[in-house]
Symmetry: C2
């Protein structure tokens, strides 16, 4: 084996000769090399910081669960760690990055209207050919030259809003849809939709108007449109913290459904509202009635368009998994499931619709149809995959919100604005919770009791979506104040409301723990008796034959119609459920229905003797 | 409920007044808004394209598996789709992006040596205060002004090498370690390490020297260092394609272990070699013997440092999962597992070691120790999670390699260079496969037969790692040629060698299918009899008492020592395996060992009567 070592020594001699013939361009080449290495080091340090904090967060979360500490919630702890890290980066991390900034003069004076996306810098080394460097515009405007180093740290440790919207938020929302406890959710669907649509709209305009009154009185120089935008984005309540407290404490299922339903769906409403408001009169003229009408139409179009798109893509995947034998290869099957779910988000965004709404309803469709076609392995895989991804993303976002307080330069703090915001938000939330509950209670059985109403008001925590919406455009000082205020509102509500939730549950005497479970089971038993079948959370199916008067569904016309359609057409078409289409559709459809009926459906319908 | 609709109408009137008081900055604000929207749209279109292609790839992969098509392999198909998409983007996608580029003059003439990282552009609107825009340097130099639009498309659809190294590669390599079939791997460890270390080094220097001869003859103007760098990066063979063909065909386990072991580990060697070569004499002077000695020392230090670090972090996680009761919360447990595995990569990179080596051995340690401590749910979760992530990342990379051929501008094609490369690569691979096998066969039982040697030569496919290494720095024309050539080599080997693998297996009369399985089971039975226990792939444990002469391990001194140490110290320390430390260590250690023994271990050691 000694032969092997001769080779390098021989090479050495060759190398001595060879390296002499280096061409003159080596300086710039090496500079590029050094630069790549520096960037890599910086990126990994930042990533390592975040990932390490998340490990600490997971261990802390475990310790909190294990020792049953409830005075502060996990997301509160996560936020706190984030603040700590941000503080350290801000005051001790300035030496990390050293790079150059040069001021340049432009040849071309027409760039005032819109900054160019790219700059080119041509350099002519002495006696060499010219080399050009290309520069890309960084988001945000920075007016202060002395903030250079801070800007550079910000560049590195701040994620672009694009990452938030394209990568971090979709899995969280999908998981919300995929793991939805459908029974309680659909039992309260009417109230939830009322709170989501009417409530969020009231909250948006209420906050906007109140803030406009405040800022006008104190002459803070905000336009009504900016404040409406703020009202829209701050109306997105966050499911994460409250739901995890509710889960730990086993709170009554109906209250759970109301609060979860609101917070999962109103993100979508808030995002659509804020987009509509942003697009209001781009020419900065007054809003006309026509604008407003078209905004309402646009709102409805965008919301239901996204809903149909997401649901449709979910159904498409159900059909695909039903008709192919891809369940023989669970790896491919799970991958397909994940990719198609993500596509529902991307297609909606590309079409100018709202990806969040789309991905939420894709999740619901996937849980309702596709899930039943998956192999056992994929069922478990996809469930745990999204659960874990969603948990990691959430922890990351809360940590990041904390970090951003110290690290970013696009937050401008105004304590009076923050104070007014907290007042306006609470007032406008009260403005819809109580009147809307009163209206709903006229027809609703069981009624929403007062203690539920207080809890809904209290549960208005803000989170990732509000933060991401506010951080999307921070080009003006007013927008920077809005961003900083949103961050502060998230921190305050998560720490204060989140920390006091369990105390509030006790105080309002809301059933939880064993009481709630027993009541839930009693209710469930009576329901499943009336329906004549048993349900698990995800595999829940709606019975074809409903005993009228016993089932809560037959009160409303539209839901009843939908469930008949679902049971006799959608389920047989998209899953292996029986009765098959051959049995539910009239006989003249047979040529088509026999194509769409799987062998598994036939085997169940006509069992071999 | 009609009350609700009065509010918007009332607001309308307020708005009419309010929006009139807009300040003058609106133009730039709106421009930033439009810009954000445009970037978002562009990003989602590109993402959608990639994700859609991946859905098609998954469905195709399923169809290929289902109809047992073997003339071309999945990664070949993926590459092909990538090429197609790249072609479409290149020739039909030019209209997608429209943005501005302005030429600028610099005030400061000192930037020749190194381009600044940031540029600042100050704009003074008429009668307004100045606004500054910040620009960040884009990787790569572009000399040709007319290529503007193509550059912009490239900016958008090309991932930075950072994304490759920090995000896409680590899960693939971790999964390789985590799902390693340890029994066959360790049985062939000596041969594998010889091929990996000596073979890869010969391949690197052999390719470099041959290419230097070729390029010198044809006066192509490459330095020896550049060609050595090319030799290093092109020596990284790829496990993906070949392993999936071998898996499908159930090829003999020993050959499988040799080829998998080589391709999984030599990525690490190639990456370390290429880094060492890059750092050779940064002052562009000749290499001295001292340089070379320190390079060898550096190589060993980096490799074994990374190995120990990764293994250590894996062990740390095993200890953590053993001593805490985190397995009661599978979600937290799985998240912790994923995060800590990723940390092993990041820590190594930050310390200046090689993340790939670290993450590979972290994977092996996690499979060997941590896996046994996990709850059943987490065992299945983590296995499937990494399997799926790794599958998706691999598909993405192959697709992306295809796209890059048409879309990037940092590839410079040279067909003579490609031709010489293919010859050099094959020759230098033959140069180590046959001599090294001959040397190994002197002591090895069973010997490596000739047909294995031919297969190892044939299985030298190149993939993601070579591509990523080559794309990391493309600042000079020579580097661009190297990048283009690497891409071409990947495509050629994956399409030709990958496509012909199954044919080659038949031609070389290598046992596969039922024959190989039967032989494997016969061998396994005889081995497990001699060891007195049964093994599953992942839970494999090494017996404490080995019958000398029967077990293949007792031939080598070092492996035997390690396995005794592992069984009597590491396993009892890091897992719930018995005998516990209390039993394996001498009694005077009792105060410490009793701390480190879990109640589960005690329960098994001292079963209650």
């Amino acid at each position: 084996m000694k032969l092997v070592w001769f080779l390098p020594v021989a090479l050495l001699i060759v190398t001595q000769v060879a390296l002499g013939s280096n061409n003159g361009n080596n300086g710039l080449d090496m500079a590029a090399q050094r630069r790549a290495a520096n960037i890599h080091r910086m990126d990994t340090i930042i990533l390592l910081t975040y990932v390490s904090v998340m490990v600490v967060i997971v261990v802390t979360a475990w310790a909190f669960k294990h020792y049953r500490l409830r005075f502060i919630h996990e997301s509160g702890v996560t936020l706190f760690y984030g603040l700590l890290i941000g503080f350290v980066i801000r005051y001790f991390g300035l030496g990390l990055l050293q790079s150059q900034t040069f001021d340049v003069e432009t040849k071309n004076k027409t760039i005032v209207k819109e900054p160019p996306d790219y700059l080119m810098l041509e350099v002519k080394p002495e006696g060499g050919s010219s080399v050009s460097f290309h520069y890309e515009l960084i988001e945000g405007f920075f007016a202060d030259k002395r903030k250079k180093i801070e800007q550079q740290i910000e560049q590195k440790s701040v994620f672009s809003p694009e990452v938030f919207f394209n990568m971090l938020i979709p899995p969280i929302i999908f998981n919300a849809g995929y793991s939805l406890k459908k029974r309680h959710f659909f039992r309260n669907i009417g109230s939830i939709l009322a709170i989501v649509f009417i409530g969020t709209t009231i909250s948006c305009f209420g906050t906007g108007c109140l803030m406009f009154v405040f800022t006008s009185i104190f002459q803070m120089g905000y336009t009504f449109k900016e404040l409406l935008f703020f009202g829209a984005l701050i109306s997105a309540t966050d499911p994460v913290t409250i739901i995890s407290v509710f889960n730990d404490m086993n709170v009554e299922a109906d209250l759970f459904a109301l609060i979860f339903g609101e917070s999962a769906l109103n993100d979508a409403v808030a995002i659509v509202l804020s987009e509509v408001i942003e697009n209001f009169s781009t020419s900065s003229e007054a809003i006309t009635l026509h604008d407003f009408g078209s905004a309402i139409a646009g709102f409805a179009g965008v919301f239901f368009g996204s809903l149909m798109l997401g649901f449709g893509i979910g159904c498409m995947n159900a059909f695909l998994t039903k008709m192919t034998l891809i369940s023989e290869h669970p790896l491919l099957e799970s991958s397909l499931f994940v990719l198609i779910s993500y596509i529902s988000f991307l297609v909606a965004e590309v079409c100018g619709l709202t990806g969040i709404v789309s991905v939420l309803f894709c999740g619901i469709a996937q849980a309702h149809y596709t899930y039943n076609n998956l192999s056992d392995e994929s069922q478990s895989n996809t469930k745990h995959f999204f659960h874990m991804i969603s948990f990691i993303m959430e922890s990351f976002i809360f940590c990041y919100i904390g970090v951003s307080v110290f690290v970013t330069n696009n937050q401008r703090w105004s304590f009076s604005f923050l104070l007014f915001s907290l007042i306006s938000i609470t007032a406008s939330r009260a403005l819809f919770v109580y009147p809307l509950s009163w209206l709903l209670n006229i027809r609703r059985r069981p009624k929403i009791p007062k203690r539920y109403q207080h809890m809904i008001l209290f549960a208005g925590l803000r989170g990732a979506m509000a933060f991401a919406l506010a951080g999307r455009n921070t080009s003006t000082e007013n927008r920077q104040t809005i961003f900083a205020t949103t961050t502060a509102v998230v921190i305050v509500t998560v720490l204060v409301n989140g920390g006091l939730t369990s105390w509030m549950i006790e105080y309002l005497q809301i059933k939880h723990g064993k009481d709630a479970i027993e009541e839930g089971q009693r209710l469930e038993n009576s329901m499943s008796c009336s329906r004549g079948e048993q349900h698990s959370d995800l595999e829940e199916t709606i019975p074809v034959t409903m005993a009228p008067g016993l089932n809560p569904w037959d009160k409303a016309f539209l839901p009843r119609k939908w469930y008949h359609f679902d049971a006799s057409f959608m389920k047989p078409l998209l899953t292996h459920a029986t009765p098959s289409l051959e049995q539910t559709l009239p006989p003249f459809c047979l040529p088509i229905t026999s194509l769409l009926t799987s062998s598994r459906q036939r085997a169940v319908s006509n069992p071999p003797n």
